[in-house]
Symmetry: C2
Subunit: 93 residues, 2 copies
């Protein structure tokens, strides 16, 4: 899988809300009602990430979840990252 | 709950392996076989953290889990952080 160019990434991001391109990755922050809700969403995402064999870099503190998506092997953002971002939006939205 | 002094923290840390005191928090990094194992441990920890009503600040990427424990209300490290660190060690160890 090939890394997308910055132009390609920015063009694709127009179809997304809340995601931005920073530090060579797709980045979003989600806020939930509490820890339980945040972790419940993380669990849903975890199963899909594992199925895709494509895993997020993510941080959680209490009700907040910060996610970075990039493709290590391609040293950048690929279609796979957008695929996972789309799934995350469906699960969290 | 009162924040412990740095001396108290360092004394207590002698009973722990792999934890250190940095950036005003107890800090540890755990490595697992793969994402599934890492997230399984996170899930076990999440249930205990929720029960304690004391939540970690944690990051995961693939098989790696980084944890910071501190007590927001006390603006430092308290007994509660050591309690959670002990539980994490039992769950992960």
């Amino acid at each position: 899988m090939k890394a997308l160019t910055e132009n390609e990434i920015l063009e694709k991001l127009k179809d997304f809300e809340g995601w931005e391109y920073i530090e060579g990755a797709l980045h979003a922050i989600f806020e939930f009602e509490n820890f339980k809700e945040a972790f419940t969403s993380m669990t849903r995402i975890a199963f899909e990430a594992e199925k895709l064999n494509h895993h997020p870099e993510w941080s959680n503190v209490y009700n907040s979840l910060e996610i970075y998506l990039s493709t290590h092997d391609a040293e950048g953002v690929t279609e796979k990252d957008f695929e996972l971002a789309r799934i995350i939006d469906e699960l969290v939205g």
